[in-house]
Symmetry: C2
Subunit: 598 residues, 2 copies
Amino acid sequence: MDGGKSEKLSSEDYKAGYRLACLATVKGNLTIRLSDEVRLGTGGITTIVPERHRAAKHIYDIDSLKKEGIFEPPVKKYFLDLPRPCAEDNMADSGRVIQGLKDLYNIRGMSIGLTVLRKMRRALRDDDFKVTVTLVRPVNEKARTLVVNIQPGDWTERSYGLAMDIGTTTVNGRLVDLRTGEILAEKGDYNKQLSYGEDVISRVIYAEKPKGLELMQELVVTTINGIIDKLLLSAGVDRDEITSITIAGNTVMTHLLLALEPHSIRRAPYVPVSTFFPSIRATDIKLNLYDHTVALLYPSISSYVGGDIVAGVMGSGMYRTSTLTLYIDVGTNAEIVIGNREWLVCAACSAGPAFEGGGITFGMRAAKGAIEDFGLNPVTFEPMNVTIGKKPPLGICGSGLLIIVATLFEHGLIDQRGKFNRNLDTPRIRKGVSGYEYVLAWKDEADSDRDIIINEVDIDNFMRAKAAIYAGCKTLVEEVGLQVSDLEQIILAGAFGSFIDLDSAMTVGLLPEVDPDRVMYVGNGSLMGCRVSGLSNHIRQNVVDVVRKMTSFELSEVTGFHDQYVGALFLPHTEASLFPRVNKRLSHLHKRSDQDDN
Amino acid sequence: MDGGKSEKLSSEDYKAGYRLACLATVKGNLTIRLSDEVRLGTGGITTIVPERHRAAKHIYDIDSLKKEGIFEPPVKKYFLDLPRPCAEDNMADSGRVIQGLKDLYNIRGMSIGLTVLRKMRRALRDDDFKVTVTLVRPVNEKARTLVVNIQPGDWTERSYGLAMDIGTTTVNGRLVDLRTGEILAEKGDYNKQLSYGEDVISRVIYAEKPKGLELMQELVVTTINGIIDKLLLSAGVDRDEITSITIAGNTVMTHLLLALEPHSIRRAPYVPVSTFFPSIRATDIKLNLYDHTVALLYPSISSYVGGDIVAGVMGSGMYRTSTLTLYIDVGTNAEIVIGNREWLVCAACSAGPAFEGGGITFGMRAAKGAIEDFGLNPVTFEPMNVTIGKKPPLGICGSGLLIIVATLFEHGLIDQRGKFNRNLDTPRIRKGVSGYEYVLAWKDEADSDRDIIINEVDIDNFMRAKAAIYAGCKTLVEEVGLQVSDLEQIILAGAFGSFIDLDSAMTVGLLPEVDPDRVMYVGNGSLMGCRVSGLSNHIRQNVVDVVRKMTSFELSEVTGFHDQYVGALFLPHTEASLFPRVNKRLSHLHKRSDQDDN
């Protein structure tokens, strides 16, 4: 047991083995001996944060691409040592390059654009007909391969790609070595569009104003350019060595990046300009990269299931397993995909921003002072708040909210409908300005001018969010004739997924019940997808199949969805049979609780 | 007999039937009665310009394209009346357009660029999902069709194309209605590059200077833009209604237009940057057209056989006949193509600019005052000059030069080697500053300060030019195992071809002997080719086959070419058997001439 040092603990006490449990990190099995004071006040039962079931991290096995023979970036450099022209062989420079690609690499069906033709004579002759050409392989096998750059000499050892996830809130990028697949740098920043609205709808509304679309594009491009600068600096890579940038974002973000009018996305029947996007030159959208850098954009599924989700499906590999998988990305919005290599269905859930702290009285992002874990003394109902950075509590972040609600429910402080038990003997439960509430930290504990609380409105918002996700899953699964209980694997994407306590998530009915060992998190799934499709044209080609295969549901239009949603507005669910393990555990807890009462 | 009026002829004489033969046009059979004065001075033999055998004009039969079902422009507008989106059908705008093209026109395999996507939402909704899209069909059937424009409403009735021939000296354009194939306007201008050199080599040399290539591009683009302005004004067509511009030029002109470095073209082994050129947006080369206008460029064969010749082969239709054809384009340079639908060979002939007036003491372009036809009194050897615009003679244009040399030869004033007969009794033959010469017009006849003459150096230059062309033909034909006498048809391109006297051309051995009825001229063959491939994607696809089929010879590298050339440096040729009809006619003439002498 590490840590647990504090000004509140004398060094004498520390030497004697005393620790502040709220500041200590459990690293293995341990025996806790409580101080007499604690034991005295609580009848031997104390407030302790239980061990949490975090999801295991899914790491993409780049080596498997090599083993499968599909480690072949869509944009790749090839070195050519060409025969010099002579009277018997005076074909044009471009013909010579095309012939060389055929002879040396068996690559056929080329197109060479004007920009490359303009550099070609000099490039061929600067290093005696030894050149490096950069090719963009087509998505469609029948289409033509494009020559996008020619350089004198051999530059194949310096070939880098960027992966870029354009989130509504944050933009994240990685710099990848296209020869090895290695991630050389990773950087992120807030999307500069944030000052024009927190969600996609407000961005669309802004883009509809005169010059609004141009501004939205400029802001996100500036954000990306800043991240590119940091990535290049951090990895020591020259800008002209970037051969490709693979970009994914939700449908609105992609529209704004490309300056496509997003107007119809926010109005029924919710029509984007396009779901497939052409490969373009990075400079076409003013990215601060060279003319020869190709920008590849992930296609979307619909107005509300975007390229970031498609990228996540690719990055998680769920599209090529037989395991029936649920993929959830909880960000500013929540999207779910269910299926396997045979079929895929998807939907956006109007979960609202509760998991990002939105709509919660003391909700906040996962920053210092945010309660991220929580324990409860089952006798005194006194809380144990674990905050990020071990600071006095300031508010509640998404993972904390989930644990707080689950813990309050497990200990009977709230009922299945999320309403407080008003009969418990604790000053922590009280009537506040917005109905009943539980005081997580008194203002002096919080070093604040007011108490940190969670109230029934907050819990209600949380329940709406989790109900939307669960009902979305259940609706989608049943639309293909299966049951939620058939789900074999859950993949969590987004920052939320890496911190989520799986027991709590199942206790409240946010996630369907599966063996916690079959839950994985991918972190930024969109970024992972960008990286792998930037490394493998085969995977990039698979994207098209995946998009064609994926059936998108507009949940509000599906008969029965509303009933599913109402059914999920309980903890964990109105149908107890959907959560057998939770119910078993809770009955045990409640039994013990009953015993304690006696 | 029309015309022949002049201030020099009183109206009384005119009524009596007198005509000035030099101003009269022969329209049918006629009997000439000479005035007594003429008969008296010449022993009954006078100076008369014989009837000329001009080539018949080859006119491309656009209707045949329609009959064959290949009247299908590579860039074409399609009208779509699309279903409106609804909850059951909310596919993206781009998907809706692609689906419409499939449903209504059975067109598949589309790509839509960013520019069109940016206009799409508004275009679809401005006229209730009735739109006109402009498609570029691929050359390669397997490649993708590109959507380059979308407009609200039905604009299919306004679709125009430009055909543009970029000559070293002049640039010529036509505006064509893409629905009917009709030529609505035709305009030309001198290539503004002219002030930087008259031939392609001096342009290349200039382009090698710093900023030289940019300037050369700017000059030709300015020239084209000026012609486009005139064409639009003349036809009353709006600039945005131009859907395509098809361009052909020699290899250097095409390189300069596209700003491709022409440096290696002028140095052995004469390598252009490219012989195939990508379809581009007209705005990519700064043409003053819209973003949606596509520029299609004719491919070249080699450094010295350019896209203008390929276009001529397409426009003349020689690539699809079984008739063994000789195609000659005499411009600033001379290029020849021989073959039929089975095979094609080609070469550039270093003919020099004699036919454009270059290297001839009194050579000039076909402008007012240029001697364009010529007769000779076989007794007095007095000339009859016919000038353009009936002005006093200023010099000799190409067609005049040919006739003068042929006439001098026919009447024995020069021998087979082009040397003057110094024994004739005429003051017109004399020793000048550059050897012997014939006075075409005394300075007072010419209204000039000096006599207009043709000398042995001029004749020598002429003979080199005609020998280069003839030897080129003979070499090419023999390379494929045939004889010049096997040629069944001659197609003449360029301004020269339309004025050339076929008898003279065969007399001097410029053209192989064929039935004059089997000689046609196409005028600007390059422009004709641009028009037809701009009207038929099928023909545009054939261009690729033609280019692949066409074998290019660098004549100077072909063994035996020099001997052929030396053999052709005679009038008509050292091998009399190659010109049986000429020799028969000449022996008759010489016989009569002998009789006269007796």
